[in-house]
């Protein structure tokens, strides 16, 4: 049977799981919860595989129209799903990685009080994410779009008793909302100009439009606004600030949402809207520039971070930058390719980091780690693979995708390529730095037992999983297999995942989606002429060597001469400080937007306008009326003769008036 019939099932299944766990989880046993969560997420994964099996580019794209959702006048939006090569890729990634992380979470969260909540949230996230990727129109996509935001809000703030976690969740949601604002406006523009939000309808009309070479036309506006949305969701400049904080969430969440799937939604959306971007070169340029800058910017921050998850977070931001760079230069397929590989190795990295944290009893500061290689070999191995992959060491997954992007970028404009390469250098540097600091050298961490009490709940969660030694947490130790399994699986994927891209097979697979776009042209010409092959290999060599260079640097600084970094940092002084403090961007935003907003609203609007002006006006007019009344009533002096005076005067006035009337 073709996917048309059961397409809608794929998102619904996890929702069912979420519902069941959400409603009955509180009272049902952990095993039941686990069963429900895993079964439903696996079902989704299974359906996805089924779909992939039955998928034929000939019949693609598939539709599935569930029901009317909104209709007003001529404008109508349905619950309708859509499957083409692009969404298939996303589908597999989301369900696959998602399912693995579900398994991992079972081990990681087993002893948390909110286990059922966590599982329900995860399922809920799966539902929204799948809605997002399977949507047939922008509004349903927006459901997923906002929905994943909600899920991440809930999951980041999962340990809500921790203020930092709560505010991190809020921050994530609000920053995303700012992005969504742009997205919404884009949708309004589409409604205004195309009268529909359906991909097919919109794109078919767009292709009829001329390319907006000069100035900001409608399409450019739409593109830019979509990019705002994407920037919010995929943590690009200037809206990336929420992602690092999002690390407050449990590590599986960071892996699933803030590495593998949700944050890539922006990329997916831009790729999905390739038709529009294609007609708006200026928007494309903006996307490319933002992506490039973010890549470099985030990477530099990554250098100086000591929190293992923070490092990964910034590396995620930077990698996303790569993807946008790709989309910006029209290499959408390359972007998606990198998205996929990134999902593998970054997911892996996070899970491994989680396993490390779990192993050392909730410690996240790399300075307190080190020498874990002998304690947790599997974790080390898998994480190593992931590091090689992200660093772009051939033939691992990262290499292929990153190289593809750099090559496309070079064809577009060599500046992108240069920055990209630089970023690659930094990336491999801080990744290996992370490896050395974590696994190399001696174990620097104190025995976690005594400082458990002022460890965040993350520690509790993991600590409780070893209730047998109540006195605390002895040696660092390897994680249980329920957690290691997913690591291994992802490691394999990171190893071989890139091979699908060899010879542009992946690109050709996706080609129908980006048919007729500049990206396609680019693909053809770059694939076509043999002459440029030499340059291609040259560049490949450069990037690879750069990655090795980064590795070398890290090796020197953090394995051979561990005292050097401090000195370098000292010599750099202010710059280093700035980097450590993430260039004070958060502080800047606080000073620039948050504080003025709060203070302004309080003093000017509330106390000023509302109470000071409007209410005051009302009350004053009331008291004024009283004063007037008090004045007027003194007419009633109580003196008879003055009363008579009034009467007489009034009479006189009346007579005078009447006489005048008579004379006229």
């Amino acid at each position: 049977m073709t996917p048309n019939f059961y397409l809608w099932l794929i998102p619904i299944l996890p929702l069912a799981g979420a519902a069941i766990n959400g409603f009955f989880g509180r009272r049902s046993s952990k095993l039941a919860i686990t069963a429900v969560a895993l079964v439903f997420s696996f079902a989704a994964f299974f359906m996805a595989l089924l779909t992939a099996w039955g998928f034929s580019s000939a019949q693609a794209p598939y539709f599935c129209n569930l029901a009317h959702w909104v209709r007003s006048g001529t404008f109508q939006v349905d619950f309708s799903f859509y499957l083409d090569q692009l969404s298939l890729v996303m589908l597999l990634v989301v369900t696959g990685v998602g399912f693995l992380i579900h398994i991992y979470s079972v081990g990681y969260m087993w002893d948390d009080d909110g286990y059922y909540r966590f599982m329900a949230y995860l399922n809920l996230f799966m539902f929204f994410m799948l809605t997002l990727v399977l949507a047939k129109n922008y509004l349903v996509m927006f459901i997923g779009w906002e929905g994943v935001g909600l899920a991440s809000y809930l999951l980041i703030g999962f340990w809500f008793t921790k203020d930092s976690a709560a505010s991190a969740g809020k921050k994530a949601f609000i920053v995303n909302r700012i992005g969504d604002f742009g997205f919404l406006i884009a949708l309004f523009l589409m409604i205004k100009h195309f009268g529909s939000l359906d991909f097919a309808k919109v794109f078919s009309q767009v292709t009829a439009w001329p390319t907006e070479t000069a100035g900001v036309g409608t399409l450019t506006a739409i593109g830019l606004l979509l990019m705002v949305g994407a920037a919010g969701k995929s943590a690009q400049i200037p809206l990336y600030v929420w992602l690092p904080d999002a690390m407050e969430g449990p590590t599986p969440v960071s892996a699933l949402i803030h590495a593998a799937t949700m944050v890539t939604a922006g990329v997916y959306m831009v790729a999905r809207s390739s038709a529009i971007f294609d007609r708006a070169p200026m928007a494309m340029t903006v996307v490319a520039i933002i992506g490039t800058l973010t890549a470099l910017f985030a990477a530099t921050i990554g250098i100086a971070q000591t929190d293992i998850k923070k490092v990964l977070a910034y590396s995620t931001v930077s990698q996303l930058g790569y993807m946008f760079m790709a989309c910006g230069v029209g290499a959408f397929s390359a972007g998606i390719f990198h998205l996929m590989t990134h999902a593998f190795f970054k997911g892996l990295l996070f899970l491994a980091a989680g396993s490390v944290i779990h192993g050392v009893g909730g410690e996240q500061d790399m300075r307190k780690m080190g020498g874990l290689r002998q304690y947790m070999p599997v974790t080390f191995a898998t994480m190593g693979i992931a590091t090689l992959a992200i660093a772009g060491i051939p033939p691992l997954a990262g290499f292929w995708s990153k190289d593809e992007i750099l090559w496309k970028a070079f064809n577009a404009n060599w500046v992108y390529w240069l920055v990209g390469v630089l970023t690659a250098l930094i990336t491999s540097f801080y990744m290996f730095r992370l490896m050395y600091m974590t696994f190399g050298g001696e174990y620097r961490g104190r025995r976690a037992a005594q400082d458990l009490k002022h460890q965040p709940l993350d520690a509790h969660a993991t600590h409780d999983s070893h209730g047998h030694d109540a006195h605390g947490h002895g040696e660092p130790h390897e994680s249980p297999w329920v957690m290691l399994g997913p690591l291994v699986a992802l490691a394999v994927l990171s190893l071989v995942g890139g091979l699908v891209g060899i010879g542009g097979r992946f690109e050709h697979f996706l080609a129908p989606v980006f048919e007729g776009t500049a990206g396609a042209e680019l693909a053809r010409q770059t694939a076509g002429e043999a002459a440029s092959h030499t340059t291609e290999y040259l560049l490949m060599g450069v990037s690879v060597s750069v990655s090795f260079l980064g590795w070398l640097l890290a090796y020197v600084l953090y394995s051979r001469r561990p005292e050097l970094p401090a000195r370098i940092a000292h010599s750099l002084g202010g710059l280093y400080e700035a980097v450590v403090h993430k260039y004070y961007i958060d502080e800047l935003y606080a000073a620039l937007f948050v504080k003025p907003l709060i203070d302004g609203s309080t003093t000017i609007l509330w106390h000023g306008v509302d109470q000071g002006v409007i209410d005051a006006a009302v009350n004053d007019s009331a008291s004024a009326a009283n004063h007037v009344s008090d004045a007027v009533r003194h007419m009633q002096s109580g003196n008879l003769r003055s009363y008579a005076g009034w009467v007489a005067a009034g009479g006189a006035a009346v007579i005078a008036y009447m006489v005048w009337m008579g004379v006229r």
Binding site: S637, A652, I655, A656
Partner: protein, 174 residues
């Protein structure tokens, strides 16, 4: 000529009396001057031929009513009125207004009341003719005045009699 002289003479008395009523500070003097006014008014009526009214004016008004006044003054032995602070409204608004109104009315009466000049005893108001009207045309008002008188009597009785209700019941003045 005779008519005019009489009119002017008694008119002058009226005016004098009226003014005197205002300027006198002791009520009794005012009362007396008022009597003078009424008396001379009676003569004015006579000049216009209203004999019956003249009689009634002298008997009822000057006679009965003013006596009532005088008695009251005596009863309450009202002395000279002390010059307590007057009322600004009355002086500043009332008097000027009144004067203006007076001028206007006077002007109207003089030039726009298209009244004619009349001889001495213009309209004979002898008792019979009056009675004719009173008991036929104005029968109803005449009868109704009895109610008025009745009320007046009741009022006088009620208001002047000492409130025995209070004498009986415990006195509770607010």
């Amino acid at each position: 000529m005779f008519h005019l002289i009489l009119f002017l003479f008694f008119g002058a008395i009226c005016v004098a009396g009226a003014v005197n009523l205002l300027v006198q500070s002791h009520p009794i003097n005012s009362a007396l001057s008022l009597i003078a006014v009424m008396g001379s008014l009676a003569v004015e009526y006579l000049l216009l031929g209203a004999e019956f009214l003249t009689a009634v004016q002298v008997i009822v008004y000057a006679g009965a009513i003013m006596v009532l006044f005088v008695i009251t003054i005596m009863l309450l032995n009202a002395g000279k009125e002390e010059g307590s602070g007057g009322s600004r409204v009355a002086i500043l608004l009332g008097i000027p207004g009144v004067l203006i109104a007076t001028l206007l009315v006077a002007w109207t009466v003089l030039f726009h009341s298209n009244t004619r000049a009349v001889p001495l005893g213009a309209l004979k108001g002898d008792p019979r003719a009056i009675a004719q009207l009173l008991f036929h045309d104005f029968l109803l008002p005449f009868e109704i005045t009895s109610v008025l008188i009745l009320i007046a009597i009741m009022g006088a009785v009620v208001l002047t009699s000492r409130p025995e209700a209070v004498a009986r019941g415990p006195r509770r003045d607010g």
